[in-house]
């Protein structure tokens, strides 16, 4: 508990924050006779100084002397006494717990200690410099909103609030990370979310025991059920519209301070194949694109392995003319087919990584350098055959067609596994590895939901989730929410009223 002696409180504060040069503190006399001492403390640059100076200090220092507070009021009702002095800010609270007060200072609030009072006032003055709402870099769409989440938790909750003006939209705030004390908010629709899923999510988030949460990706990994699986079990997005759509489906959005990405749970493979703009355009074209995405997903994992299995072990399937060309192209290549594909694939992965690290203007050049020069040069030097370049390029392009990069990572790793098995055992190895990956995916769960839902266990929701899987049904036909929603609130669209 705080002491009523201001000096004692100051000493405690200075002890706690010793060697913190960014702590700004000032002892100020207030009152008609300037005989009441207060002590202000905040972290420089974490606060909005305009709020502090105009809406708090100004009233305290200018107006309060006209109506000096009685000392006994400061003891018994500090908050009302001082706020009556004219704070023009609403977010004010009182606390006598030093830990809470210090935490508030670290979070960007300003704390006022008053001599003679056993509690202090916390005023929300958060206003650190931030990026502001900008366009999304990682999930670009042709049609739809362009705004993206930012590093500010409050900004992020605001972006979802703007889209869902429902009192049932809850923002449950927690703090996780023993040292970072990162503010985390769970957003959900109270009546739409499944209570069991919410409870489980809360349990998992609260059970995170780590010193620091620097990004929402930490949370996504720590709450995953199967920590060995390369496949993501929580969705990560930068788009507020995607997050809002997830909330409307009964899913939970977890947003963390200092992270422009939010986590959405539960997540199934099908949710990773859905992009935001799937619902902004006609169902016909979007169904076609959805099918292409699934095909791209399968190809990105299976194509190199299948090529090796067929070309090296079972070339009878390849048409005669093509096989002669392929055999001819490989005449001068010194490497076996498997090694050729591995070399090209690893080169492609390196180019991809290099492209990510390079500054904006140069990243386009990597595409030109990699694709045209390195690929062409390798073929002309006889290091690889043209077909290998095509296979690897096609595999890479298929990976780019998948909307969520976290799923692509899982597929990329599976690709190597399938490739190696195919190289060893041909078509048997290919199918054995595919079956192993499928078994793993089938046994994976995300907060109790099968990862491959509705391809498996689709009958549980009477196959209605199939309307938004391989193809997208017309919006008028998608009357029910997906399986994630509470069965009591699973209708989202009613029949249009006639007349």
């Amino acid at each position: 508990m705080l002491s009523t002696s201001l000096d004692e409180n100051i000493r405690q504060l200075e002890d706690t924050f010793h060697d913190c040069g960014d702590l700004v503190k000032r002892k100020i006399p207030i009152g008609q006779h300037k005989d009441i001492w207060i002590y202000v403390a905040y972290i420089d640059m974490l606060i909005n100084r305009e709020t502090l100076e105009s809406h708090v200090l100004n009233p305290l220092m200018v107006f309060v002397w006209e109506t000096p507070p009685k000392p006994e009021d400061l003891q018994t009702d500090l908050l009302h006494t001082l706020t009556d002095c004219g704070f023009t800010t609403a977010d004010v609270r009182e606390s006598g717990d030093p830990a809470q007060l210090y935490n508030a200072i670290l979070s960007g609030d300003t704390v006022f200690f008053v001599d003679g009072a056993a509690s202090a006032i916390i005023i929300s003055t958060r206003g650190w410099p931030s990026r502001g709402v900008s366009a999304t870099d990682t999930e670009v769409t042709v049609q739809g909103a362009k705004d993206a989440f930012t590093e500010s938790l409050r900004m992020n909750t605001m972006l979802i609030r703007r889209r869902i003006k429902d009192t049932k939209l809850k923002v449950k705030q927690l703090r996780i990370g023993s040292r970072t004390q990162t503010d985390v908010a769970l957003m959900y629709l109270e009546d739409v979310v499944r209570p069991a899923v919410l409870e489980e999510t809360l349990r998992r988030v609260k059970s995170i025991d780590i010193d620091g949460i620097l990004d929402s990706g930490y949370i996504a990994q720590m709450i995953a059920e199967n920590k060995i699986s390369p496949f993501p079990q929580a969705q990560i997005t930068e788009r507020p519209d995607k997050a809002s759509a997830a909330v409307l489906e009964g899913r939970i959005v977890i947003t963390a301070d200092n992270s422009p990405f939010v986590v959405i749970v539960p997540a199934t493979l099908n949710t990773f194949m859905q992009a935001a703009e799937d619902y902004y355009q006609g169902w016909q074209i979007m169904s076609f694109i959805r099918l292409m995405r699934y095909a791209a997903g399968i190809l990105s994992a299976c194509l190199p392995g299948l090529y090796i299995a067929i070309a090296v072990y079972h070339p009878s399937m390849i048409p005669a003319l093509l096989i002669y060309k392929m055999a001819g192209a490989r005449q001068s290549v010194p490497f076996p087919t498997t090694l050729e594909i591995l070399i090209m694939d690893l080169a492609f992965e390196l180019l991809r990584e290099a492209g990510l690290r390079l500054p904006g203007p140069l990243s386009g050049a990597i595409g030109i350098v990699g694709g045209l020069i390195v690929g062409q040069a390798a073929v002309e030097a006889g290091l690889v055959s043209p077909i290998a370049v095509i296979i690897v390029a096609l595999t890479g392009i298929c990976g780019f067609a998948i909307p969520h990069f976290s799923l692509v990572s899982g597929l990329r790793l599976s690709k190597y596994f399938i490739l190696i098995c195919s190289a060893v055992l041909g078509l048997l190895g290919f199918w054995a590895s595919v079956l192993l990956v499928l078994s793993h995916l089938v046994s994976l769960r995300s907060f109790g939901f099968p990862y491959l839902f509705p391809m498996t266990a689709g009958e549980v929701n009477h196959y209605s989730d199939w309307k938004d899987t391989l193809f997208r049904a017309p919006l008028s036909a998608m009357k029910k929410r997906p399986i994630f929603a509470n069965p009591a609130e699973d209708v989202r669209m009613h029949e249009a009223k006639k007349g």
Binding site: H314, L435, A457, V460
Partner: protein, 364 residues
């Protein structure tokens, strides 16, 4: 709803049973049926499916009376604990033998058609390991895998056989009903071996979410399987002729290789055909591994299911490595069917139903 209780829906049960029966039987069935019935082989298959339907009804009725009991506990209640355990061990050994022979056959086909130099043990071990991994994940995982594999296995087969129907000469099925009754009966008896996964119906009721719907669901699945297999047999004979069918070990695979896919530049579809065969064998191996391990676990009463799977896998691999020719494997499979399969599919359910009636135990 999606709790980890290993319960599956009736639909998933149907898919599992269709895949198991189809995968175990379709490769050799037309040859077995044609050996007795010639061009009437498709009728033999239909009649065999009717027999399988009767067996299914009997076994599902038994299971319905004891929906929560495992095979061991059910037979123990009806016939006494030692008898129950003996039957469980016998069934488990039968499954291990059957699986080992199926793997052996699979390895032979694969090595003869695609991978001549790859050692038998590598092929068997690879397929066994994949089957064991899935079996160890539990019954729900198996059911979900089956839902994924169902279109992958059946759709290409249906497409190929629809195309084959266009090229087939259906006059090869004439004259109809010209097979003597004795040959017909023997053909039905032997061809019923193609439905040799059915005895597992006695084990599946504890895994069903709605045990009362299992009987109807499985009957529907058997009708589907029977009709499909009869169609495939008929089209195979129409395309190849009865004599050719009896001369080939795997007429269905041969026939699939003969089809010209329209608009396609793929000349030989051996690899496509073998893909279907690999997936079918996987369905059979993981089913028999799962249940054999389960039976041993229930008999012993302790230990993890996964450990029993490993032990059963080892036994299966040893059997598959034995130096047996395809004809010898066929002989052993025929013997297995004539004795143990018929015993578990026909005799045991009747015995159990009679015991339940006499002792007045078991639900409706």
């Amino acid at each position: 709803m999606f709790s980890l209780n290993q319960k599956i829906s009736v639909r998933q049960l149907q898919v599992l049973s269709i895949l198991h029966v189809f995968g175990a039987g379709i490769i050799m069935l037309p040859r077995q049926a044609a050996a007795y019935g010639g061009q009437d082989a498709w009728i033999i298959v239909l009649l065999a499916a009717c027999a399988a339907l009767i067996f299914t009804y009997l076994m599902a009725t038994v299971g319905r009376k004891f929906p929560a009991d495992s095979f061991v506990s059910m037979t123990a209640r009806l016939l006494s604990a030692p008898v129950g355990k003996c039957l469980a061990v016998l069934l488990a050994l039968k499954l291990i033998l059957s699986c080992g022979l199926a793997l052996r056959l699979f390895s032979d086909i694969l090595r003869q058609t695609m991978m001549r130099n790859t050692p038998c043990f590598v092929v068997c071990a690879a397929m066994g390991a994949v089957g064991a991994y899935t079996a160890a994940k539990g019954y729900e995982t198996r059911a979900r895998m089956a839902q994924i594999l169902f279109p992958l296995i059946l759709l290409p087969v249906l497409i190929v056989f629809c195309l084959a129907a266009f090229e087939a000469d259906f006059s090869n099925l004439k004259p109809v009903f010209s097979t003597p009754p004795r040959d017909m009966f023997m053909g039905v008896f032997r061809s019923s071996a193609a439905f040799n996964g059915l005895e597992l119906i006695l084990l599946i009721h504890p895994y069903a979410r709605r045990p009362d719907g299992v009987r109807k669901g499985l009957m529907q699945a058997m009708i589907f399987s029977g009709v499909l297999m009869a169609l495939i047999t008929g089209i195979t004979i129409a395309r190849l002729g009865a004599i050719d069918v009896t001369r080939q070990l795997w007429p269905v695979l041969e026939m699939m290789g003969l089809i010209d896919l329209p608009g396609s530049f793929i000349d030989r579809q051996d690899a496509l055909v073998m893909s279907f065969w690999i997936l079918s064998t996987f369905a059979v191996v993981n089913c028999e591994l799962f249940f054999s391990a389960l039976l041993f676990k229930d008999t012993v009463g302790k230990g993890k299911h996964a450990y029993y799977i490993i032990a059963c896998l080892a036994a299966i691999l040893v059997i598959s490595f034995l130096p047996l020719s395809a004809e010898r494997v066929n002989q052993i499979q025929t013997w297995l069917y004539s004795t143990l399969d018929v015993g578990f599919m026909a005799v045991l359910p009747i015995l159990l139903l009679a015991a339940a009636k006499i002792r007045k135990i078991g639900g409706a």
